[in-house]
């Protein structure tokens, strides 16, 4: 019982910061502190009219969508290979592909910065961020897709092959529909990670900032903080929505493939 109480207290600790977001987003004082003064929706209105923000959101959406597509494709290759017979070095190669999961992000950021700018002499653009985000999102995609691919019954593919389908068409007509929920789930998770990523984006951003980089620049100006709170409220609501969809699909995918749910995203 006390363990249950502790866990609930822990959840309160986890949620405390994001609970404050809507409170200050609707508070009509310019300083972010208690006591609250009154209700307003002005900060949301200001979001609608800020051109720089719209540009940043546009950049971030482009980066997040491209990253999600690329890392889901790479994740599908790896997860499919993971569910197939072992060969030498397979575990090592898998471990290497999963490495960005534990690597400090600043290491990824500086190493790619050095290669892109100093060695290749390329400029920084949205594509440098996409390259880096795909690297860090792929392990998450693999983790999610593993759940979908590992539970597949191999006899389904064999049946399709026996009935005259080629490997390629068997994949698209039999396997892909079965792992589809996992694919969407992986897409949404990678999208969410990329949309929110700051540490790497700050190093690799070109002339056009991404949304987190734009938020970072706003954090220096106390007057813009209520707007940040309003923006944060929208972002949190959006991520919770996307994650809920991802979770429902992930579970449905595992159920569809006839597997047993073993837990969360990781």
């Amino acid at each position: 019982m006390s363990l249950r109480f502790y866990t609930i207290a822990y959840l309160v600790f986890l949620y405390a910061p994001i609970m404050l977001l809507p409170i200050f987003a609707f508070n009509d004082a310019t300083i972010i502190a208690f006591p609250l003064s009154g209700f307003t929706t002005d900060w949301f209105g200001e979001l609608m009219t800020t051109k720089a923000l719209h540009d940043a959101v546009g950049n971030s959406l482009f980066i997040a969508l491209t990253t999600a597509a690329l890392s889901t494709c790479l994740g599908m290759c790896a997860a499919r290979a993971g569910a197939m017979p072992h060969f030498r070095f397979k575990a090592g190669i898998m471990g290497f592909v999963m490495l960005p999961l534990v690597l400090p992000e600043i290491i990824v950021a500086v190493s790619l910065l050095v290669v892109a700018v100093q060695i290749l002499g390329l400029g920084l653009s949205n594509w440098t961020i996409i390259a880096a985000h795909t690297l860090i999102c792929t392990p998450f995609s693999i983790a999610i897709l593993n759940g979908a691919f590992q539970n597949l019954d191999p006899s389904l593919e064999e049946a399709a092959l026996d009935l005259g389908e080629s490997r390629w068409s068997a994949f698209w007509s039999v396997i892909f529909p079965l792992v589809m929920p996992g694919v969407i789930s992986s897409f949404l998770i990678a999208f969410t990670i990329s949309l929110d990523e700051f540490i790497i984006a700050f190093f690799l951003t070109g002339a056009n900032p991404t949304m987190p980089v734009y938020i970072w620049s706003l954090l220096r100006f106390p007057a813009s903080l209520p707007v940040v709170m309003a923006l944060g409220t929208i972002l949190v609501a959006l991520s919770i929505l996307l994650l809920t969809i991802a979770e429902i699909l992930r579970r449905r995918g595992i159920a569809k493939a006839g597997g047993k749910d073993t837990g969360g995203f990781l």
């Binding site: 072992h86 290497f96 949190v236």
Partner: protein
């Protein structure tokens, strides 16, 4: 695995290799090559924008000689260590609760609830800790109004403590999930056996459950300890003048001071320190990890 002639691969193995090739090539090109590049870079020097590619140990010499770098690295390792300890200790009971006291059909909803805050805007979450811990923050106004304190507490913002609290919050789910997975793998009949043989619930925990969950704890420690060294956002926003860490210095060398080679050398030194400590930690625990994946 079936015994096969050396070098001969089945068709399925070949296809599996072919499928693994794209993600492997991607990681090779965008991770291994860049990592090699910064190692190389750390042996070069830069004077404003001209890069001198003669091999030199000057950067490492500078790091060894100037006390500021050592102090920052020491503080970073201390912060990462304390954050890891706090996170894992606080997370263990939560993982234990979800694994042992939650009905199987509701486990994933609990895990989902635990992971949600982790996915929501990192920058804004860090900033919100400033709102909670600040001079006019939630804690101070709350405690003042309740009559517990007269003066706002100042030891909780713009110092190392604030950095530790914020990072411990950010990495919480990272610690819970691996411990949960390890606890889930424990065969429940072992616990019954232990109690049938006369152990109390508490001694069953310390003699059966805890030792069997060590792999999860080790994974949790590594997955928290290693990435925290690379965070510069939290110390920048929460640390004040005395709470800056090695990652802030790396960032400054790259983006403000235009001394990428020195920044690269610092990144490598930080990375090597973390890796060395992690290896020692894993070795110390190898007794508990043996025989398990």
């Amino acid at each position: 695995m079936t015994a096969m002639a050396k070098g001969a691969l089945t068709a399925d193995q070949k296809r599996s290799m072919l499928l693994l090739a794209p993600p492997f090539a991607y990681a090779l090109l965008l991770l291994a090559v860049p990592l090699l590049a910064i190692v190389l870079f750390s042996f070069w020097t830069q004077d404003f924008i001209t890069l001198d590619t003669t091999f030199t140990l000057a950067n490492y010499q500078e790091i060894a000689e100037k006390p500021i770098y050592f102090a920052l690295l020491q503080r970073s390792l201390y912060v990462s260590g304390v954050v890891t300890l706090v996170t894992v200790l606080l997370a263990y009971p939560v993982a234990y609760f979800v694994s042992f006291h939650v009905h199987p059909s509701r486990k994933s909803i609990w895990l989902f609830l635990i992971t949600i805050p982790f996915w929501t805007s990192y920058l804004i979450r860090v900033f919100l800790w400033k709102v909670i811990l600040g001079y006019n923050g939630v804690i101070n106004t709350g405690l003042t109004q309740a009559g517990i304190i007269d003066e706002p507490l100042t030891f909780i913002l713009y110092n190392v403590n604030a950095v530790i609290i914020t990072l411990a919050h950010a990495f919480a789910p990272f610690a819970i999930l691996p411990i949960f997975v390890a606890l889930e793998k424990i065969d429940r009949s072992l616990l019954e056996a232990s109690q049938d043989l006369g152990e109390s619930k508490l001694s069953t925990f310390f003699r059966v459950t805890l030792p069997l969950s060590v792999p999860g704890v080790v994974a949790a420690v590594l997955i928290v300890f290693i990435p925290t060294i690379g965070d510069y956002v939290t110390p920048e926003l929460m640390g004040g003048a005395g709470g800056k860490l090695i990652a802030n210095m790396i960032q400054t060398q790259f983006l403000a001071l235009n001394n990428a080679p020195l920044g690269a050398a610092l990144a490598i030194v930080a990375m090597l320190s973390v890796t060395a400590i992690s290896l020692v930690f894993v070795l110390l625990n190898r007794k508990w990890l043996r025989g398990r994946a």
